[in-house]
């Protein structure tokens, strides 16, 4: 069903006046003119298809690029960084010859339209990024945001998203070891489905997305190409460009985790035999992206014969094939002598593999269809030289009033009874409640290397059976804090993830992020974005943890209403021996509870202000990164030297939330004493950053105190692990059973 005549390069050159549907494909007039200028003629339909997807916000980062540069410019010197920003995912040296790659990505909008498949294919996409680096994926995490917990649409979206993440990840055999679930009405029409993956390889196995070596073959393998996610491209496929018939091409992609599992195994087998020169996954923008990126990162050019692409739907036009976002596909560059072996491995795994092109010694990407050239471009102009916008940004007019609305002025509990009621209310609130109903739908055990999984502070995976070397990962992001102050909010997200990793005994090494914001065309949103990036880059510099990669998701808004600015930060850490990890749950009666760090009256954006007063205002907690670093060092040393048996970081919900979680997890109660100089309310509910609680065996108390004293970290003894209730002396006691019912009952009641 090809158009007559085929829009070849030659035809395009001869027919400069043909009007192309660039606007329908999302390009701006000046962007289209730029393409014409680059090519020195009008683009062919196929070229236009490629430029339009690759220059989209999603692929080109055109609104965010000018800000994201700071992650590179301010990147701290780090010996651990083996591959930095710009590749499919960053790679970090974790010692003993191992390297770890990790990244977080969003699949927000598709998950709203079709929760199960949207979330499932989100996992599929991030996992392919990790395989493309040469690594075996070893774990996934899933930071999630949903609308109001009692909104009917949340009942549609949440169970579908969770089933989709589980359905895909479980089937791939990847343990899910962490994530977040946050409810807020601001995410009502815009749930956030972020997914992260961690992969492990030996240093020498790192692979990059580039096509070098003239004569090398380009092999497309995995699923057949169908008409998935090519809404726009079908305009190009219509008989004439002006006759834009509505198309039946699906906007939603269906995932096939079984196919992806085969893709993982056959890719790793090909890596092990050193058959692969360069590799790229096919994600957004499909073949347009894979071919232009492979070619532009390599030293030569590339030719591709599009007729050779195996199709699921034989009616696809070349434009559609180039834009298709069919899942579970990869592209490898292989030396001619190794092609046969590569194809054999694919056959062993029942994976369809086809040579579709070749690396050339030129510098053009040329694509052919029915023997005619339909694309002839400099691949760099497609992949890397997209437009860049300096979008205007301005601090919103309402920011001052929001910050002035101090949460410290909210009425506080006046009696012990009220205090107790508010504690119960807090631990039962949807955001603070146990997420077991969700996380028990994820496999935590598969691969047999899971040391810690949710609800621990960070997930931890053993990567070497003999030495016990392990990696930890935590993700955090607090949209409420970021709404009050995006600069600090982003820093607090980093600080919390960093702290979570250190709490388990691992040393934080590097950062990935997923920046979820509203429309960049709104100067207020753009300001939030700019501030968050600046904050995160500054904080990464100070903490010495470089950003290795990440993802930006914009336009998360309904009408005028944007979501809270939601920078989600993932921190990866390393632990020399997982036997030294520190769990959250209390281990033994009689151990002493210490509060590390300073507690101030900080309630802006707090869980307490939300749960008890449905309030958002004031300033988020102060950020003191030097303190975070010191706290982390102490937690790591204490874990390595066996001075603490459990530890939990303090974040949303404050101290009482942390104590209740540790108590329920260890099934052991605690007696707490309000320290001098603090009132019970502040002690229990403040969300001051840079804090953790630890349980110290009595035999270690002196040594532990000496260490904190010598290094200047405030350590206050606040009680003891004991009994079967949480007892705040002089105030109230709550039995573990009552706490468990409150904490674990909420989510099932909302969703089951």
């Amino acid at each position: 069903m090809s158009r007559t005549p085929l829009d070849t390069v030659e035809h395009a050159a001869a027919t400069p006046d043909v009007a192309l549907p660039w606007a329908e494909l999302g390009l701006k007039k000046d962007e289209y003119e730029r393409i014409v200028e680059i090519l020195g003629r009008r683009p062919t339909g196929a070229e236009l298809a490629m430029y339009s997807v690759m220059w989209s916000e999603h692929c080109s980062y055109k609104s965010s690029k000018v800000h994201l540069r700071q992650f590179g410019e301010k990147a701290p010197q780090s010996d651990a960084l083996l591959v930095g920003i710009g590749e499919n995912a960053g790679v970090v040296d974790v010692g003993q010859g191992y390297a770890v790659t990790f990244k977080v990505e969003s699949h927000n909008h598709p998950s709203y339209v079709e929760p199960y498949q949207g979330a499932a294919t989100g996992v599929g996409g991030i996992v392919r990024d990790i395989i493309a680096m040469g690594a075996r994926p070893v774990a996934v995490v899933d930071p999630l945001r949903f609308g109001a917990p009692d909104h009917p649409d949340t009942k549609r979206v949440l169970p579908g998203v969770v089933a989709g993440i589980g359905g895909y990840g479980n089937c791939l055999g990847l343990p899910n070891i962490g994530g977040e679930v946050v409810f807020d009405a601001c995410y009502q029409g815009n749930p956030l489905v972020n997914a992260g993956c961690v992969g492990v390889m030996r240093h020498e196995d790192i692979h990059l997305a580039k096509a070098s070596g003239a004569g090398n073959k380009v092999i497309l393998y995995g699923a057949r190409t169908g008409g998935d996610g090519i809404g726009g491209a079908s305009i190009l496929a219509s008989e004439t460009f002006d006759d834009a018939k509505p198309s039946k091409r699906p906007a939603v992609q269906v995932g096939d985790p079984f196919q992806e599992k085969l893709l993982i195994e056959c890719t790793l087998e090909a890596f092990a035999e050193k058959l692969v020169v360069g590799i790229q996954d096919l994600g957004a923008a499909g073949l347009s992206c894979a071919t232009s990126e492979l070619a532009s990162n390599g030293s030569g050019g590339m030719t591709v014969v599009l007729d050779d692409v195996p199709l699921r739907d034989s009616t696809l036009s070349p434009e559609e094939i180039l834009m298709s976002e069919s899942q579970e596909r990869m592209c490898a560059v292989v030396e001619p002598g190794k092609v046969d072996r590569f194809l054999q491995i694919c056959e062993k795994w029942d994976v369809i593999a086809t040579v579709i092109g070749e690396v050339t010694d030129g510098d053009r990407l040329e694509i052919f269809w029915h023997g005619e050239k339909i694309v002839d471009v400099d691949p760099r102009t497609v992949a890397h030289e997209g437009p860049t916008y300096e979008r205007p940004y301005a601090r919103p007019s309402w920011q001052d009033a929001l910050q002035a609305d101090d949460a410290g002025k909210l009425p506080r509990p006046e009696t012990a009874k009220e205090l107790k009621e508010q504690v119960l209310q807090l631990v039962a609130s949807p955001n603070q409640a146990s997420k077991k109903w969700i996380t028990s739908q994820y496999d935590h055990f598969v691969q047999g290397n899971t040391v810690l999984a949710q609800p621990e502070d960070s997930g931890m995976i053993r990567i070497d059976e003999k030495t016990g070397l392990g990696v930890a990962i935590a993700t955090d992001g607090n949209g409420r804090y970021a709404k009050l102050d995006p600069y600090k909010g982003a820093q607090l997200a980093l600080a919390e993830a960093y702290r979570n990793v250190a709490t388990t005994g691992a040393k934080p090494l590097a950062v990935s992020d997923c920046l979820n914001f509203g429309s960049p065309e709104d100067p207020a949103v753009m300001w939030q974005f700019a501030e968050a990036v600046r904050g995160l880059a500054d904080a990464c510099q100070q903490l010495g943890t470089p950003v290795t990669g990440g993802n930006v998701s914009l336009y998360n808004q309904t009408g005028e209403a944007a979501i809270h600015p939601t920078p989600v930060v993932a921190v990866l850490g390393v632990i020399d021996d997982v036997a030294r990890r520190t769990p959250v749950g209390f281990q033994e009666d009689g151990q002493l509870l210490y509060l590390l760090g300073d507690t101030r009256e900080e309630f802006g954006g707090s869980a307490w202000s939300q749960v008890v007063h449905d309030h958002l205002g004031g300033l988020p907690p102060e950020v003191d990164l030097e303190r975070e670093r010191l706290l982390a060092e102490i937690l790591i040393s204490a874990s390595r030297d066996g001075m603490i048996d459990s530890a939990h970081d303090l974040s949303d919900g404050g101290l009482i939330q942390a104590v209740v979680e540790s108590a329920l997890l260890g099934d052991k109660g605690a007696r707490l004493v309000v320290p001098d100089g603090l009132d019970a309310f502040t002690f229990l509910f403040s969300e001051s950053a840079g804090r953790a609680i630890v349980a110290v065996p009595r035999s270690e108390e002196v040594r532990f105190n000496d260490m904190c004293g010598a290094r200047g970290l405030p350590a206050t003894r606040i009680g003891v692990v004991d009994g079967d209730s949480v007892d705040v002396q002089g105030e109230f006691a709550l039995s573990l059973q009552e706490l468990r019912e409150a904490h674990e009952g909420t989510i099932p009641a909302l969703l089951a």
Binding site: E114, G226, D228, R249, V252, V254, D256, D350
Partner: protein, 87 residues
């Protein structure tokens, strides 16, 4: 009482991994001559009262809003004969 059957199938342009898995297994089972397999869902609804135009309209609505996700699935609604079709 009558039975109404709602069949829900993935739209033809949507990937059907389940159907494909079945199809790929057929040669191994010694089966050929089947060029495509699609797998979908079948809902059998036992309806109290008469299955009139109004009831069918409501079931159609139910299928559209709940039993199928019309972003990726098509459905059909049929009134089933009382006698089962031949095995």
């Amino acid at each position: 009482m009558a039975r109404v059957v709602v069949d829900v199938m993935l739209k033809p342009e949507i990937l059907d991994p389940q159907g494909q898995a079945v199809q790929r297994a057929l040669p191994r089972l010694g089966f050929d001559g089947i060029s495509d397999v699609r797998q979908g869902k079948r809902f059998e609804l036992e309806v109290d009262g008469p299955v009139d135009e109004a009831a069918l309209t409501r079931i159609h609505e139910l299928a559209e809003s709940f039993l199928a996700n019309t972003v990726i699935e098509d459905f059909t609604v049929k009134v089933e004969e009382v006698t089962e079709a031949a095995k």
